[in-house]
Amino acid sequence: MLQRTSYLTKRYGDSDGHTLAVYERDGGYQQAKRALQMDRAALIDEMKAANIRGRGGAGFPMGVKWSFMPWPPKPEKPHYLVINADEGEPGTFKDRTIMEKNPHSIVEGCIIGCFGIGAHAAYIYVRDELHLAKARLWEAIAEAKKKGYLGDKPFGIDYPVEVYVHTGAGAYICGEETSLLNSLEGKRGEPRLKPPFPAQAGAFGMPSTVNNLETIAIVPTALAMGGDNFSKLSAIHNLKDGGARLFGVSGHVNKPGIYECAVGLTLRELIYDLGGGVKGGELLAVIPGGSSCPILRAEEIVKAPDPKSPLHPYDGKSVLDVPLGVDTFRSLGTMLGTCCAIVLSDLADPVLAFHNLLQFYRHESCGQCTPCREGSAWLFRILDRIVQGEAEVAELDRLSEIASNIMGNTICAFGEGTAMPTLGFLLKFRRELEEFIVTKGKSGTRRLAL
């Protein structure tokens, strides 16, 4: 169901929309002040009721994550809030807009988050390339500090909070939370084994919560509305997938961009109503939420005869008409991911798209685990041979075998992030891949750009 909202994006068009003056005019920082005077358990209950599913890709309920923190905090074990703004999942460009255009929502979210998890410091981990975003965040922190909203006594209340920006140095893997923690600590960004989970031993070995940037930015809105009211904005509130979020669309659409809507939007609405329709040709396929999510073909139909399936209400309908939700898309055999879709028209060659993505994964594997380091390179080399017209059809089975051997055999989910889209392309585009190999590429359109 298409329902535009503007909680985070209201001032996106204003040249001074990122300033404290504008943010406060809209009621900004009232919720941080209120939260610091709330009972911690009551705050967490509100957040649980809000059904904010993590916006970074995994979709874990944020309030539940906060509640995992040990309580009460021990003086010798300070808690930390860590915000993941290492936005680098291909197709995803939503967090950058919040940092550049509404940074105070993040700072306010951090104050509330720190209180909720018993932390006194928040680190926002921003990828280094985003220079404007970093500058806007630092400006917002300085403005808030000057007003007395951060520091030893925010709003005059005895609960010290500091917020810092930390930068990476170009590594997709640092978007993985334990890799990010290593990077924050000044180490190579290699993922850690879990357990221990960050709530037990996170940043600097201390109990920590890692939240995606959009997740923390929506917290003041959810608190202002009340958890339940916020959750009910969503058309799939019943699936504990609440509120409003940013939806992105890129690739072959007429109006690529970021659109804020209530949860429950469908791909058809995102592509046609918001994205202005497919540019050049007809819709071939869509990668729903960042490149690690298995691809969906336009003509796919939902099969969910089981009344217990979250997809059952959409049984027999097009996949394009399923609400974009964490559980609905997981049940479709793909993922909601970051909720930023990549659209392919039928003028584009899906084999080249597959090749392009495998080049990305080969480049970004951190190299710590052998199945992923070697596997991602093998996958890419086979795809490269296919594109060069040197491969045989039997090698498609080898792709599947390599991908299956990465799955479940690595420390972090990057392995799955490489294997799942690979298996997805193999499943959905087997015929096109075989034809491409047999005809040495003559069967395809041989292009990505229109």
Binding site: F93, G186, E190
Partner: protein, 158 residues
């Protein structure tokens, strides 16, 4: 000449150190400061950072070589990155890259002979709705046409 941070950057470093409970956490921001000053991260810089933060040089070198934005050798005065990942590729990134290679007379990964420009491809720069795009030093240039690419290259090769 032995490497040392400029006075202004030294002050920035002190402020950076105050943000973290450990010195090690300053490794990446410190390396950024050094690269800003020196253009790339040499072994000498790794040793300098290690000494200042009470770390081993091997640790710092391990960090410096892990992250793609730390230059392990001298680079051009200007850095041009063309995003090549799928959303930009669907918007025409390959043409932008080819055009840059032709105009500059180098391949991606190389530096022009006069040392002015290093051209590289980048993996997704979070600008998927505004491709094709390139990053030049600290700035993003989005929704590029080849005419705009020419203007940008004119400026950096001047």
């Amino acid at each position: 000449m032995t490497f040392a941070l400029s006075d202004e950057r030294e002050r920035t470093l002190q402020e950076i150190l105050s943000r973290y409970p450990t010195k090690m956490a300053a490794t990446i921001p410190f390396l950024h400061l050094c690269q800003e000053q020196h253009g790339w991260v040499s072994d000498e810089i790794c040793e300098y950072v290690a000494k200042r933060l009470d770390l081993s040089a091997a640790h710092v070198k391990g960090v410096a070589t892990f992250y793609s934005l730390f230059n392990k050798e001298p680079v051009g005065k200007h850095q041009v990155w063309v995003c090549r990942t799928l959303p930009c590729a669907l918007a025409g990134a390959e043409n932008v890259l080819k055009h840059c290679e032709k105009r500059l007379g180098i391949h991606a990964g190389e530096t022009t002979r006069d040392g002015k420009v290093t051209l590289r491809t980048a993996e997704c720069l979070a600008s998927c709705g505004s491709g094709p795009m390139m990053q030049v030093d600290r700035d993003y240039y989005e929704n590029l046409t080849l005419a705009e690419v020419d203007k940008i290259l004119d400026r950096v090769t001047r």
